[in-house]
């Protein structure tokens, strides 16, 4: 029996892909030369003032509504103060005690079934900090550090979950669904490896018999993990580590830990006891953010269908629950699927070809549904040939490989290589008659009741037609010919 209960809450930072930064007109584009996307405002020059980017507010409201939060008509900005070279003003403009939105929900799914609903405590808007490039391993022993302020002032939303998850797997599912939901809003690149989506995980274990509040349990925060998989690994490690502490009767220290993806281990960064006092106070340079119902409703009207609605759409089309989740998780896969299914009625067949053979090719070549060389139209071209009986499944796979390589249409390839399945009944009948004539003993066996003999005959026909005959057609004709033969006798 387990002696503890796992309690996990996640804080997710999402960079909004507005054209301009949160408080100035600088570009938010990723990957530019260091310090080229800067101006007096985001450099924190003396005398500058922030002006709120309306687009960022709209994006944040979209996220809040999609996560079923209550968007507050009145929220305000606060300064979170600390010294660090990547923070030009020595304070971050954030929202402290009156965030933009609160009380949301994210349902989490496993193989298409809702596992539980995770609460979203709050969503607030804030600005990102710059980036330090240390000439060395860590700031402590670095020879020097270079500051790049391109990212300083890029808009972020922080999404704080309730501590509602109780396993690393649930954390993974929460992040997956969160990313699904946000991806359809088109408000962020959501690239964890580039830092446009970042996750801090709070993990604590509640020993059985503990009666205090969850907030009072010693909480370990795993900072800035760069993939969903690593969040899961970090949490798994942390649960095991803390469980061992509990088992040995040791005290768990409230602290911040990093995650090393080589070893899969978390390591201590700093204990919360020595943490900053951020001295939050209301940002005097910005008026409160007042949102009218009308404005919020206008934003709501621009929301795309929810992931729930999309799930429904896919299921109604006959896609298996497991496949639904795979397609949902990839924005461009869904776009591909939709385009293909409007051109080709059999949604299951589309799904199968997308998720098996095409996905295999995409993975092998490091492509995705966003960059696939085989368009939905091209895949449908192939499916049509299968449907008409021109190609067998096995042949179609070969054709798809060829399409992927050459980016030619299925029709062209089939024509060039003379690869068409023989469907002409007369041509097949001729081969069948020859086969029957030259294998009379086998035909006799079949007539005397040995069903297996028919298989042998089919095999012979297929061999002669180099596999291009459609097996069910061969079967039918063979039976007809044998019947004729039997009547003649």
């Amino acid at each position: 029996m387990r002696k503890y209960e796992v309690i996990i809450g996640l804080e997710v930072h999402v960079e909004l892909k507005t054209r301009a930064k949160l408080f100035c007109g600088c570009s938010t584009e990723f990957g530019a030369e260091p310090n080229t996307h800067t101006c007096p405002v985001c450099l924190g020059m003396p005398g500058v003032l922030p002006v709120l980017n309306r687009q960022a507010v709209v994006y944040a409201i979209k996220a809040a509504l999609a996560l079923e939060c209550t968007v507050h008509s009145y929220s305000k900005f606060d300064r979170k103060q600390y010294f660090y070279p990547d923070l030009p003003k020595a304070y971050q403009i954030s929202q402290y005690d009156q965030p933009l939105a609160e009380h949301g929900h994210v349902p989490i799914f496993n193989d298409g079934a809702v596992v539980k609903t995770v609460g979203v405590r709050r969503i607030h808007l804030e600005e990102d900090a710059g980036k330090l490039n240390h000439l060395g391993q860590r700031l402590g022993d670095a020879k020097g550090s270079l500051v790049d302020l391109n990212r300083a002032g890029v808009p972020l939303i922080e999404i704080v979950s309730e501590p509602d998850m109780s396993s690393a797997d649930e954390a993974r599912l929460y992040l997956t669904e969160l990313r699904n939901i946000l991806s359809y809003l088109d408000i962020s690149d959501l690239r964890m490896e580039e830092g446009s989506m970042r996750c801090d995980a709070n993990v604590s274990l509640r020993p059985s018999g503990y009666t205090g509040s969850v907030e009072d349990l010693p909480r370990v925060e795993i900072k800035n993990v760069n993939s969903i998989r690593n969040v899961q690994r970090g949490i798994e490690f942390e649960i095991a580590r803390q469980a061992e502490f509990l088992a040995n009767g040791e005290r768990i220290v409230k602290e911040t830990r990093g995650f090393d993806d080589q070893s899969g281990r978390t390591y201590s960064q700093r204990s919360k006891e020595e943490a900053n006092d951020y001295r939050y106070f209301p940002e005097p340079d910005l008026p409160p953010l007042v949102l009218s119902d009308v404005f919020v409703r206008e934003v709501k009207d621009t929301l795309p269908p929810s992931t729930q609605a999309l799930r429904q759409e896919l299921r109604t089309a006959g896609v298996q629950p497991k496949d639904v989740e795979v397609i949902l998780a990839d924005h461009s896969a869904l776009a591909f699927w939709r385009q293909a299914t409007t051109l080709f009625g059999d949604a299951r067949m589309v799904t199968n070809w997308m998720l098996s053979d095409l996905s295999r090719l995409l993975n092998t070549h490091g492509h995705s549904f966003a960059t696939t060389p085989v368009s939905p139209e091209a895949l449908v071209g192939l499916l049509n040939l299968i449907h008409r009986g021109t190609l067998s499944g096995r042949m179609a796979k070969e054709v798809l490989d060829n399409m992927y390589e050459t980016q030619r249409s299925a029709e062209e390839i089939v024509k060039d290589l003379g690869m068409s399945q023989i469907t002409d009944a007369d041509a097949i009948k001729k081969v069948v008659e020859e086969t029957v004539a030259s294998h009379r003993p086998v035909v006799e066996d079949y007539l005397s009741g040995k069903e297996k003999a028919l298989g042998f005959l089919v095999g012979q026909v297929m061999k002669k037609t180099k596999g291009q005959a459609k097996p069910d057609v061969v079967n039918k004709i063979l039976k007809d010919v044998i019947r004729e033969y039997a009547e003649k006798i």
Binding site: P50, V51, F83, P85, A90, L286
Partner: protein, 486 residues
């Protein structure tokens, strides 16, 4: 009248009429500066070359463009906490020694677009924290009426430059009285408009929710001219107010139509009896003119200084955190990051600034926030409500600008609390966000004294008219003769 004695209105009119060139004006002004600046030391930077170049540009403008420039050829000094690309901007601090801003403050752009010529940057208490300009990291500035005395502060350089007739007008900034108090000490007009009326973009922040830029001039009319150029909504300042300016002009009001509020909290303990006497003379005079005097109470005034010295340092501690030696300004080399921060800030800031940073940091600390900052904000609301109630009954409130006349150097610099108390009549306008103007009310023992007119939010036009009506009636005194003055 010599060119340097002309005010803003007269100069601009003559330059527009091409009776006087901007170049002649600039050269007269720099001659005057040459004669008296060594005595007064009002400036931290002067840039005659830039001023001459700007003057030439104005002189070469076609007549139809020139006639649209409200401040054509008017030389103006700017307090050195407003950014200029043409000259360094130091805020009177060592930590910004030699700092060149990459952009102009909005007010500087607006002045230049109106034809004004920025001649230099004036001295101030470091980061505008002080009431005497003694806290400048560079030098002190003398009061032109008596060089043993301070010009007031923190806009002491601006007030002294205008009083010594080096420039007809200067910009100052007012967080707790920093325009009005030096205006009173130097015998000039100092105007702080409604919070949000003038863009703060490019004003190096001291206390963001209290800071306001305004003009110091030798007449109310001139203050109005500058105000109308620099005021108005600025998309770069989210706290700047939208909407049209109150530019009510027309004939000046009759005193019999004006109800003047006389708050008892501004007329008692701690006030120099001579200042009090002059204040009463002014009140009696206005009553004789037909004005209706209304005794009233602004009961929360007694908490104003305490609230102010929580809010202002709290915001300052945050605003000044960016001066960390990483990106610009002074940096003290050190072995590691933390020591660099510590030594840079210890060496870079003067004692008064350090004191306020410590006060503010403490006030915002976890566990103290509610008791200090939050409570001070509540007091602030009460003070604002005091004024709102008062303005239901009166058109304007009249008070002494300061409890006393300009003090001597060193008299208060060892006692910060005494220094803080010289803001006692001015801080309430900043806390309430209302406009206030100090106008001269003659001399006391050969040094000037002012009175302060406070008006309702956004009614600058009316307030200026009342102040101007007073200015026209109250006897003026000749300008002081200074050092090399002939």
């Amino acid at each position: 009248m010599a060119i340097h004695e002309l005010g803003v209105k007269d100069l601009a009119e003559r330059v527009r009429a091409r009776e006087l060139s901007a170049s002649e004006t600039v050269s007269a002004v720099f001659t005057r500066i040459k004669n008296v600046e060594s005595t007064i030391q009002a400036f931290l930077h002067l840039d005659p070359d830039y001023a001459r170049m700007r003057a030439q540009v104005i002189d070469q403008l076609p007549a139809d463009e020139l006639k649209n420039l409200p401040l054509a050829g008017v030389p103006i000094a700017v307090k050195d906490n407003m950014t200029t690309v043409s000259m360094p901007t130091t805020a009177g601090s060592k930590i910004l020694s030699g700092f060149m801003s990459p952009y102009n403050a909005t007010v500087v752009n607006r002045l230049e677009a109106a034809g004004a010529i920025i001649v230099g940057k004036t001295n101030l208490d470091e980061f505008a924290m002080g009431s005497s300009t003694e806290h400048s990291a560079y030098h002190t500035t003398c009061n032109p009426w008596d060089i043993r005395r301070v010009p007031g502060g923190s806009s002491g350089g601006s007030a002294a430059a205008v009083a010594a007739q080096m420039v007809p007008a200067a910009l100052g900034s007012d967080t707790g009285g920093s325009i009005r108090q030096p205006a009173s000490y130097c015998g000039v007009t100092g105007f702080k408009p409604t919070f949000g009326r003038i863009s703060r973009y490019g004003l190096i922040a001291f206390a963001s929710s209290l800071d306001q830029i305004g003009p110091l001039t030798r007449s109310v009319e001139d203050a109005r001219l500058l105000y109308e150029v620099i005021a108005g909504h600025d998309p770069l300042d989210a706290t700047s107010l939208p909407g049209e300016l109150d530019v009510s002009r027309g004939p000046l009001p009759h005193w019999r139509d004006i109800r003047i509020g006389v708050p008892k909290e501004y007329d008692g303990e701690g006030i120099d009896p001579r200042v009090q006497e002059r204040y009463h003379e002014v009140l009696a005079f206005l009553r004789d003119q037909g004005a209706q005097l209304v005794d009233l109470s602004l009961p929360h005034t007694r908490y104003a200084i305490s609230a102010y010295y929580i809010i202002a340092p709290a915001e300052a501690s945050s605003n000044l955190a960016r001066f960390d030696g990483v990106r610009y300004g002074f940096r003290h080399p050190a072995a590691d990051l933390l020591s660099m921060y510590e030594t840079t800030r210890t060496e870079g800031f003067g004692s008064e600034v350090t004191r306020r940073i410590l006060l503010g940091t403490h006030a915002l600390s976890s566990g103290y926030y509610d008791a200090y900052y939050l409570k001070a904000q509540k007091v602030r609301t009460l003070i604002r409500q005091d004024f709102e109630r008062a303005f239901d009954q009166v058109d304007v409130i009249l008070t002494p600008t300061t409890p006393e006349v300009a003090f001597k150097f060193g008299e208060k610099s060892q006692d910060p609390l005494q220094m803080y108390l010289s803001d006692v009549f001015t801080v309430t306008a900043n806390l309430a966000g209302i406009p206030g103007i100090s106008t001269p009310a003659g001399l006391i023992s050969d040094v000037p004294v002012g009175v302060q007119w406070l008006g309702p939010v956004l009614q600058e036009g009316r307030l200026l008219q009342i102040a101007q009506a007073f200015e026209q009636l109250w006897p003026s005194v000749p300008w002081p003769s200074v050092g090399g003055d002939l």
